[in-house]
């Protein structure tokens, strides 16, 4: 299960996420020709506190599901990788929906810190044309999973 600070998520196996993405990775990453830009830079994840991790995970997964996965689907059909894509998307949706980051006053600064990290990613995403940004973001799911893996407990 995942322990993003106070937010615990059961019922999703990290291995399944890696397997699903692994089945698509070669096709997807080779489409990304812009090697000099990384959206999920080191600064996005550097020294994320446990408390922040729930907010950051929730915000990133929400963006990935509502924007990247949604708008990249036509490519998924083109590459015929729907099965792996659905497995990945469904599992990430389960994680996101189970993350219930608290919204009280005392968490404002933590939320803002997590949001600043998300904006690092988001602003880099916006600087690329849509197709390139979607391809790059989807190709960086391994970077996202690597970070999420730090909060996984067997």
């Amino acid at each position: 299960e995942f322990h993003f600070g106070p937010c615990h998520v059961e019922g999703v196996a990290l291995l399944e996420l890696w397997k699903a993405f692994g089945a698509m990775k070669d096709i997807v990453v080779t489409q990304d020709k812009i090697m000099s830009v990384r959206l999920l830079k080191q600064e996005v994840f550097q020294n994320v506190s446990d408390a922040e991790s729930c907010y950051l995970a929730h915000e990133l997964l929400k963006f990935y599901l509502h924007t990247v996965f949604k708008d990249y689907y036509h490519k998924v059909v083109e590459f015929k990788i729907m099965k792996s894509f659905s497995t990945l998307a469904n599992n990430l949706f389960v994680i996101m929906s189970k993350l219930q980051p608290r919204q009280e006053n005392e968490t404002v600064s933590i939320r803002e810190s997590a949001h600043r990290r998300f904006l690092l990613f988001w602003s880099a995403f916006k600087q690329l044309n849509t197709e390139a940004a979607l391809t790059k973001a989807f190709g960086e799911v391994d970077i996202l999973l690597t970070w999420m893996g730090k909060f996984y407990r067997h």
């Binding site: 070669d26 994840f45 996984y152 067997h154």
Partner: protein, 213 residues
Amino acid sequence: AAPGTEDSPALLQYVKFQSSNFENILTWESGPESPPDTTYSVEYKTYGESVWLAKKGCQGITRKSCNLTMETGNLTELYYAKVTAVRPGGQPFPKISERFSSLQHTTIKPPDVTCVPKVRSIQMIIHPTPTPILAGDGHRFTLEEIFQDLFYRLELRVNHTYQMHLGGQQREYEFLGLTPETEFLGTIMILVPTWSKESAPYVCRVKTLPDWT
């Protein structure tokens, strides 16, 4: 496709990283039309950076491998490598590797183990596995430090039908209740569940000591 462009596989193919215990070796193969005096030059780049860096010691070489361990040693970075093949009087032919992450791609070698036979038991001492990855204080990270969920699986084959099993994250184990002066086959593996990595087994054939009492 015109020679020297990405699509003509004439001089160069299969540029890829081979990684084991975080030792990262770039390898490639010559193309079907490469003359024997073709030379190769290697560059590498961190994903997200714009500059290609030349790898010293792998410029104008004829061998088909290059050790990029130190250059690709940051576990939170991803990397690309580029090999450029040149044949005398011909166009340079570049080919780029896939995006490489040592955390994702490295395989795990068998552990280093000392099997110690006693009269009615066999002790197995697993030694930590150093990697080339340097910590801030200059010491080399071990596999155990890099992979928090790394554990060991030990098996002792007693006979064709009966095996004993032990496992865990500690380094010393002892199979007890064995018959003196008998040969056993021990196998020890490293597993890293988060990354679904599994080493080949270390195997030791050991005979328990005679019981002089």
